[in-house]
Symmetry: C2
Subunit: 121 residues, 2 copies
């Protein structure tokens, strides 16, 4: 294959572009992060509320995933000085804007499903 | 396992929205599918070309991933009756349209990175 073309492709495919996709994949990879973010799109939640809304998640896994999301600046954790202490989780601005990624994923997923089903019938 | 069957099974237990995200995640999950699709966005490729363009992938893994993508109607495999036989891989219309998902992922990833770096400095 043409060496120059090869170089161009690699150039276009690397650096910022790959990095950005990598960052995004980091957020959505795995089984739990998307459901958690999906649940928080509807507003602030306490730990117990999240646990109830995400079927099958264990408290330990939920705690781990929330910590990951907090470290990644996707989720903000706020502790209120009540008795007993109240802890709330909410999406950061980055987390809220992730909605745009989800929307395109939904759109593509639906189109793709239609195409696949048309082929099978 | 048959990926199409997998699609049907999920349909029974969730709404269209979750389903569509699930379908999309199915395509991008894992280490190799995005690099393969990224490479095919630049045009048809033979097996050996793909192998060269995706650093670190083994022939066995590439073959498995291409079969998955073919089953999912993301990649089309064409055999030409030459001597020796030529096999080419290209994106289907669904595969090409996946570009829109990638673009939003890149956009979000870049914005997110900027925000995180601003916070750290």
């Amino acid at each position: 294959m043409n060496e120059v073309l090869e170089l161009t492709r690699v150039k276009e495919c690397s650096g910022e572009y790959v990095l950005a996709i990598h960052d995004t994949m980091n957020v959505i990879n795995g089984k739990w992060k998307l459901p958690i973010m999906g649940s928080l799109l509807y507003g602030k939640k306490r730990f117990k509320e999240l646990e109830r809304e995400i079927p099958g998640i264990t408290p330990r896994m939920l705690s781990k995933q929330l910590k990951d999301l907090e470290l990644n600046s996707i989720v903000k954790r706020t502790v209120y000085n009540t008795t007993p202490v109240t802890v709330e989780y909410e999406l950061t601005p980055s987390g809220k804007e992730f909605r745009s990624v989800l929307d395109v994923m939904v759109e593509w997923g639906m189109q793709h499903r239609k195409r696949v089903l048309k082929k099978i019938r």
